[in-house]
Symmetry: C2
Subunit: 356 residues, 2 copies
Amino acid sequence: MKMHNFNSGPSILPATVLEQAAAAIINYNNTGLSLLEIGHRAKWFEEILHEAIGLIKELMELGTEYEVLFLHGGASTQFMQVPMNLLDTNDTAAYIDNGIWGTKAIKEAKLFGNVAVVSSTKDKNHSYIAKDFTVPANAKYLHFTTNNTVEGTEWHQLPATDIPLVADMSSDIFSRPFAYNQLGVIYAGAQKNMGAAGVNLLVIRKDMLGKISRPIPAIMDYQNHIEAGSLLNTPPVFAVYVAMLTLRWIKQEGSLAVMEQRAKERANLFYNTLDALPFYTPIVAKEDRSLMNATFAITDATLEKEFLDLCKENGMVGVKGHRSVGGLRVSMYNALPLSSVEAICDLMKAFAAKYA
Amino acid sequence: MKMHNFNSGPSILPATVLEQAAAAIINYNNTGLSLLEIGHRAKWFEEILHEAIGLIKELMELGTEYEVLFLHGGASTQFMQVPMNLLDTNDTAAYIDNGIWGTKAIKEAKLFGNVAVVSSTKDKNHSYIAKDFTVPANAKYLHFTTNNTVEGTEWHQLPATDIPLVADMSSDIFSRPFAYNQLGVIYAGAQKNMGAAGVNLLVIRKDMLGKISRPIPAIMDYQNHIEAGSLLNTPPVFAVYVAMLTLRWIKQEGSLAVMEQRAKERANLFYNTLDALPFYTPIVAKEDRSLMNATFAITDATLEKEFLDLCKENGMVGVKGHRSVGGLRVSMYNALPLSSVEAICDLMKAFAAKYA
């Protein structure tokens, strides 16, 4: 059965990336060894790391003032690692509370310094993006989540502020051209548009560093990782390799402009279908809809289980909403073909017609 | 060319594990999806995690007083995470300084509490294991490294103490039956005998927890991971799967007794060859020799490059010693066939004969 993968992450990856990753596990690049068996200080891995970092700088249009690191863990690790590295005990950082992940990031930051929550959309279950807020002039940075995977909202422009921005871009990184080089820090768990779970991308403008007095554990210190060129300890070799392959694929397909064009095609088709069918209810404010994660509900919620069973029968996985919000969700990452969106739109129309 | 993989880590894995891992990347268990594309909260992954934890408890003969976790990062992450979770600011922990990794662990622990270094072998470049020492009666735990990958020494019995033991077993875990259930904490990066880089095993006896007052970042808190059943955030799915496959292989081969028997066969052959050839010089004390990592030198060090070139020509990789100690090293993990040890022994004899 043809599968349609709407998983929110880990999620769909390009078939060519999967084929190359599988081949590398048997015999990497004709070395006679598996990618899993080679030393991370071998030339082979150096080349992989170098190519991945080069692709990131190219796709993001970053200058030499930026460092690119691959770190262990996921975005949840960065919730603590960012303030540990950037926020002194008596400093203040500004945070936008736009969803479940931002809320978690705020909780961690409070362990390291003062946190000013400059806006919260908790009043409406984070179903919109609050774009008006005031950031304290002394804030060291403003943290926001560019795309809220769980709630289905996305920032379509940068927050208006002069304070350095720290962006959790786990679920929309590399999905569009973006003002990457106007950000102070970008971080992202890899398991959506960038590859397999188990590695974190961290991009940092060097002037963000060296401003705190706290002693930092060696493995958590960005500066140490920079000096070691992302080889401070054994990196998650396989996950870095899959990220490199995925970045290579993005470039070969036509880079971020093409990713954005495809994301818009998918999202337009999906949201237009949704809006045309009162049988379903969109969850988030129209102007803040995510191109990556569309959240919605069946207006008569008692039909949800039947709908999910029908999805399953038709090879559509990942349509259940996040356990913290319920409802339904269709995730449409870079590698998702338009035909999968067409398939679920057809199913949604047929299901609505059945109950019309 | 037949390759002989003497890498110190990432290192050789069983061919059957690599084949299954590659197949799962294309189509996991006939789901029509790649293992890299499935949600970590799906039943599929739950089964993988459950089987892996079950195998660990079985192989280690652990009772219900132990928790088994898969965590992001490598052993270097545990250097800080152990004292962060177990050592209060005014507490004392005892550490044995038996090698480069122990030294690093000591440095990190000092950020969290008092550290008593109860013995150090730095005087002789960590070329032996100091087994006599006194642990302060108030020490919360005694930390040691069971196998020193870099220096080539190994503990062949437990340190004599009543203080709870914390063991970094990264490079000899699952290589032998061991008094696992007499340890308070066991941790290990996976990339030697347990699988691919990018995941950490943590085994903890529950009574070690709940004894400190420090607030711990959510993602670093063992208790949080226990409550979430190793699913606090997106785990490194692929690395956990490879670990499960490797553990399954260990059990199928005959469990830890068989692993130890093979390790002894390999090590006996290698060290006997080494001892019979004065052309080479062993580096560590005989009684403390590691069964996993044999370190040695060519007595005339000027011949080292030629020796390494010859190894390379014969498909033998990973023979260069760690950059911090130099010399040569042959790592002989679980998956290394005896025939690879025979091959390098033959090469060593021939090389020595050439210069006789």
